[in-house]
Symmetry: C2
Subunit: 522 residues, 2 copies
């Protein structure tokens, strides 16, 4: 939910963040205040699903004592046990979710993290794990008085084996910093997010981050080879390794992906990285029907094959909304029902251009697309991406907004939009854009004013529809506190029981990230 808006916002202030090197404690504050000052009206009008976590009573955890603080100070140094001016850690970065905490701990190593967790397990002190604090579901924001364990200082080690393309880096490493270092050696991080200037690789693993290159490079499961996880007992678990092939044990490292801090703290990551593409090309197509969009996706898979990197959709209503609210012009004359933005990443610019042109020609020749434009310059390419990436901003300007981030099998992808539009006819406007190639739809609903009745019925309608059509209510962003009430939708009791048992293996005292994906009192 809201990822493109956030990506857009991140990009606006990304340059400032990217230049600062390592993220410090003040970077978050700087970034948040900057965003709020740029878009006060947007954040004011953004309607979130109400946090479910607030309805849970405080768990039976210990309150922090001065003896605890002394232990922490002794373990990691006075400067890194913060009890004052910690708002940047107790709020999510949009300031939509606010919690409280008695202290923030900033260990600098796996060993310090282990010492903290061992102590907290013994004393039954609740912990919330926080990376770059760029999450979108409040997973890293404390609720009652959980200690915030920030991984921001665990960011020293960075080792690339260039011959194999295997990178080992500390969990607190900022994604963009890692990518910049790789660029010097011809490599690239296979994942890319709007939040890359602040998010940390350990947090990316814990969030199961998808991002905008997933179609081309695959999910984190494609790349993760090993990680160090400090579990809820303080045990240091070195899982997997740095080999691309290793069948000597259960593949436990993959459990860290999408674990949202429930199983432990990811203090180190070993992963495959990819050669930096020599050429990046973009094109847009105007399309009459959703079924033609799907046919074009098949054609793109076949014609662009190994270089197909993005396959994004903007529906006609969204494009009109963009033109209505933003100083941006559609790249096509006239109105169309769907617009596709297609991008390639390849190792040979001439070959890539020939492939992309061939695809566009065939799309037009077969009348699957009614019009097509390839970007001939970096500014044309940027313009195309602005249409897609500012769609959420346009929708936000359109009124009071309700936003969703769902995955659907492609046969149902657009039906959700159509049925929501039908249901809300005359009451609301419905927009759809998203990562069609990944089946990831961003549904946006806007009304002129706040509508209590619609607010009550919309999320249950959308989430039940999605689950009953084989979809996911959270494609990229996880459960955290924001989607807690809906986390069991479509899940079997057997799976839920398994999840609770796994939680008990890693965190038997349930001190890690309570009130969220897996709660301490379940």
């Amino acid at each position: 939910m809201r990822d493109n808006l956030l990506r857009f916002l991140h990009e606006l202030c990304g340059k400032a963040m990217a230049t600062r090197g390592m993220v410090g404690e003040f970077a978050v504050a700087f970034r948040v205040s900057r965003i709020i000052s740029l878009f006060p009206s947007i954040t004011m009008k953004l309607s979130l699903i109400r946090s479910a976590a607030a309805s849970l009573s405080r768990g039976n955890f210990a309150k922090i004592s001065s003896a605890d603080l002394s232990f922490f100070e002794k373990s990691i140094g006075n400067d890194y046990v913060k009890t004052k001016e910690i708002d940047n850690y107790t709020s999510d970065w949009t300031r939509q979710m606010k919690g409280s905490s008695e202290c923030v701990l900033l260990p600098t190593s796996t060993e310090e993290t282990s010492a903290i967790l061992r102590y907290c397990a013994e004393k039954r002190i609740a912990i919330v794990v926080q990376g770059g604090n760029t999450g979108l579901v409040g997973g890293a924001t404390p609720i009652y008085d959980e200690v915030v364990l920030s991984t921001s200082r665990i960011n020293k080690r960075f080792h690339l084996e260039a011959s194999s393309g295997v990178l080992t880096l500390d969990g607190g490493f900022i994604l963009a910093d890692a990518d910049n270092r790789l660029a010097e050696r011809g490599f690239m991080m296979p994942l890319d997010l709007g939040a890359k200037g602040s998010c940390q690789i350990g947090g990316c693993v814990a969030a199961g981050a998808g991002g905008i290159r997933l179609l081309r490079y695959g999910s984190l499961h494609s790349h993760l080879l090993g990680c160090t996880l400090v579990d809820g007992k303080g045990t240091i678990l070195n899982l997997g390794g740095r080999l691309r092939k290793d069948n000597t044990s259960l593949h436990t490292a993959h459990l860290a992906i999408g674990s949202e801090g429930q199983l432990g703290v990811v203090t180190s990551v070993t992963m495959g990285v990819v050669p930096r593409p020599q050429s990046i090309l973009s094109a847009m197509l105007a399309v009459s029907s959703y079924s033609d969009c799907i046919r074009l996706l098949s054609l793109a898979r076949s014609k662009l094959g190994e270089i197909l990197s993005s396959f994004e959709v903007i529906d006609g209503d969204t494009m009109k909304c963009v033109e209505r609210h933003l100083p941006l012009k559609n790249v096509f004359e006239g109105e169309h029902n769907f617009y596709l933005l297609i991008e390639t990443h390849g190792s040979n610019g001439d070959h890539d251009a020939e492939k992309l042109n061939g695809f566009v020609e065939e799309a037009l020749g077969a009348e699957l697309a009614v019009d097509g434009v390839a970007a001939n310059s970096e500014s044309e390419r940027a313009h195309m991406w602005r249409l897609r990436e500012e769609s959420p901003l346009a929708a936000a300007k359109d009124g009071y907004i309700y936003k969703f981030d769902v995955s659907l099998p492609l046969e149902h992808f657009y039906r959700l939009t159509e049925e929501t539009r039908e249901k809300l006819k005359g009451r609301a406007r419905v927009y759809c854009y998203g990562h069609l190639g990944d089946g990831n739809s961003h549904l946006n609903v806007t009304t002129d004013g706040e509508d209590e009745e619609l607010k009550k019925e919309l999320s249950p309608f959308v989430y039940n529809w999605v689950v009953s059509h084989g979809g996911s209510i959270s494609a990229e962003h996880g459960i955290g506190q924001l989607k807690r009430d809906y986390r069991s939708l479509g899940k079997s009791e057997e799976e839920s029981a398994l999840i609770r048992s796994l939680k008990d293996v890693f965190d038997p005292h349930r001190i890690l990230c309570p009130y969220k994906m897996i709660h301490s009192q379940e």
Copy 2:
């Protein structure tokens, strides 16, 4: 270990297997006897690491009673509870490992599998799970009297969503059958093994199969989206789903990969499949030094980028051994220290040829390679692959043979061969070939006759060397019974404890696959 020999053997009889459609009970017998009659001398002389499982005493499991057999017959039908002529199930396919069993069960569905496992858990009856019985470490071969649960009949469902390239199929589906069905629709299974005519997709997941396309398409973690696992209590666990993006729970499906039947039976798999390549091209390079091989791997990653599919190595001694024992001629004049076989998979033949030629020219121009040949026909391509794939056969003809399948960081990849050669100087010949692009080395040692002393010291030397250099003692084939004694090498007690805890979550009575990767009495 032995994978290329097996692949070669598989290929020799693959056609017969591929034509039979679904695998029946007699297919295994047919295949095994065929192989043995073709290569009696090879299978006789092959020295395996002695199975460690035999040294473990029988677990405290129930003996099968006639009441048990009646229950099984009632549950899955009389015809599918076999108590006679079951040698094909109680031996591994090379007949190197033999166990025994009171009965073989062939359920046809997830539900029947669940009924069996629920019953066996209650009665404490030990089970060994078997797919196509093509494993290489005896993981699917019973030791004492475990019931063999074969997934061969769980092979009905095959559903491809062509627009997204997501395939759901039953766990007992033969890999080649699935690939053939996909070929009709322009898709391909992303993994390919020599055993593809017999191995089953559920077994591939359980084995964590790598195969010969891993460099291009990634491991099974890149493709698996969901699976159905029937655990050791008979619980049906539907893990993950068919979405490319879903962050609503722990990513438990990935635990099935490489689990070797320890956690449950994989009865259904949902995975992404890939477009079938339009062009496949091969070339060989002659190289003077290992360090140049590594530089060439970097060059290939950069020049061939997204189409690089295989990067195989044959060392000079191995090539001489091939020429000495087989009616095969090197493609190069003269002798060289290393030979590389490079293959591309792409969507455009012209582009791929241009890329490959460019790479070879640069390799020669920079004097990283001393000679280079691109295959100009399918028969030239086949000849190149025969040199690589028959290397194990040549080594097997060279004497009494000791074979290894290890992964190593690239800086150590060839040092293992050099140090083994140095250590065994005058006592044995040492050959190295393998998947250099994946860091997967096949080390072969031959002697003129059986050498008891060498046999005793070789495996500990190799495995300790590998582990102390950050490698894996089993790159692709797992632990099973064959490598049980070495399974803890380089593993921390913390990780081992975690593995045992996970085992207890899925299989609390430890009835699944005892005496192997995780034993019932640990």
